[in-house]
Amino acid sequence: MDGQLFGEYLLRWLHFLFGFTWIGLLYYFNLVQIPSLKNISAEAKAEVFKEGGIARTALFYFRWAAIGTVLVGLALLAHKGMLVQALTLSGPTNIRGLGIGCWLGIIMMLNVWLIIWPKQQTVLGIVPATAEEKAAAGRTAMLASRTNFLLSIPMLFFMEAFSHGLN
């Protein structure tokens, strides 16, 4: 195996490791944690949100896996010489399709770092806030997370479809 191919496999493997961690936690938040929090007591909720609790630990891996996925994905595209064509949505259909997936992933990562994480800092009490501000931040964070859940569906389709037989 030559160095070029080894580099491609290594980057793809890292992209998958980061990506599964990110999207797996996104689905955990949207399918498990958010619906479950409605049905638990205030004391139990405080346990989930406390320092070292489930929510903070999950958010730590979630936000760093998001940025890792995007950076390694862009490096993989650059390594294969497809970065410009993918990001400008030009060239053959398979690269344009991959480009749509890339942009959806980039939007999702920015959503994590610019909306979800700042709002979660308010919800978790890392940033001082009143109860009303926490409730408002929690709703915004939930809707932003659901937007990422929505965007992940076409993102995963466009990331994989064209390298697995779709023309």
Binding site: N30, T93, R96, G97, R146, L151, I153, P154, F158
Partner: protein, 80 residues
């Protein structure tokens, strides 16, 4: 009307619709392919002609002497 992002099920349905819409847009904006050359009946374009000669050369290639994959010996085609 309830915001579809309020429930995971509605979000998934919206995600499937968005996927179909984006895929449709991708197909609709695909670069146009060069249409096949149309020729009058009986006439043969150069492309058709070369394709025909390629097809015709295939049996000849099959009949040519080949090398046995195991022994490496040259195998002559059977003559009728």
């Amino acid at each position: 009307m309830k915001n579809p992002l309020e429930t995971p099920g509605a979000t998934i349905l919206l995600g499937l619709v968005l996927t179909a819409a984006l895929y449709g847009a991708l197909r609709l904006t695909a670069p146009a392919t060069v249409p096949a050359e149309t020729t009058a009946p009986g006439a043969e374009s150069s492309a058709d002609s070369s394709a025909g000669s390629a097809d015709e050369s295939a049996p000849a290639a099959d009949e040519a002497a080949t090398t046995d994959a195991v022994t490496g010996a040259v195998v002559e085609p059977a003559t009728p």
